[in-house]
Subunit: 171 residues, 2 copies
Amino acid sequence: MHEIKALIRDIPDFPKNGIIFKDITPVLQDPKAFKKVIDLFRERYVNQNIQKIAAIESRGFIFGAPLAYALNIGFVVLRKPGKLPYRTFREEYELEYGTDAIEIHQDAFEHGERVVLIDDLLATGGTALAAANLLQKAGAELVELAFLIELSFLNGRAKLTDHNVFSFVSF
Amino acid sequence: MHEIKALIRDIPDFPKNGIIFKDITPVLQDPKAFKKVIDLFRERYVNQNIQKIAAIESRGFIFGAPLAYALNIGFVVLRKPGKLPYRTFREEYELEYGTDAIEIHQDAFEHGERVVLIDDLLATGGTALAAANLLQKAGAELVELAFLIELSFLNGRAKLTDHNVFSFVSF
């Protein structure tokens, strides 16, 4: 995992002053590193009887979709409002200023399907908690929330104490 | 491919009146169908000496990322303006009203790398042409543009005559 951590690039003052953005694109562009991340997720879940992978638009798709493929199970997308065309459930969450929301199709799951939620980054946990609530609203059994990167100084886990949380790389 | 086409769901009047939206989420949620799509793309490119898969935010990521994983090669993202944190190239394109743009990191490719661009849908071809131009600006050799779905009545191929274009399902 050290070699993957070394590929994550710090971009100072993005998207605004004082923020150090964790740029994952060098991980994606490196065939060995990208494969290794997906294979490590796969190893973690292959014997857990997981029935669907869910992921949050849009960087979550980059890890969630290959993981679903590697596990040979279905893939479910959580998207920004107005993007999903069929009947949806919605979950709102607070931002620093104002609110945002994510949506899921109402037919995403059979009731009680065992699901892992994948995203690239756990920060304050606001989006992750909304996603967890949304998956439960849609009838999933949420087995774990899994992230490539966790910004542990932001203590996102404190919002997610009702759930299993896993990350590969912590800063 | 018939079974995949049968899973693509028509949503009338989305995102606006008179448009029939092609909803791919039932394909993603079906393990066999999702795996088959990725495996068919893989078979097409596995012996073509492709070095990177590129894909357009955000539905393109759903097919491009698993394909890169399946081919054991790197993955490059094309994103909406302001999303990529490092130095970027940008390509603007016209919409029905106004313009939009996509960006790519300047270090996405070694010069001359053989690249396939993946997206879920070829419609009028405006975004696809911008993506093709952007990949060439970034130093890639664009081997083919590949889509799950082509809306052939919109004749997007007419904008892409300088490129190889492939799609699995046509409406």
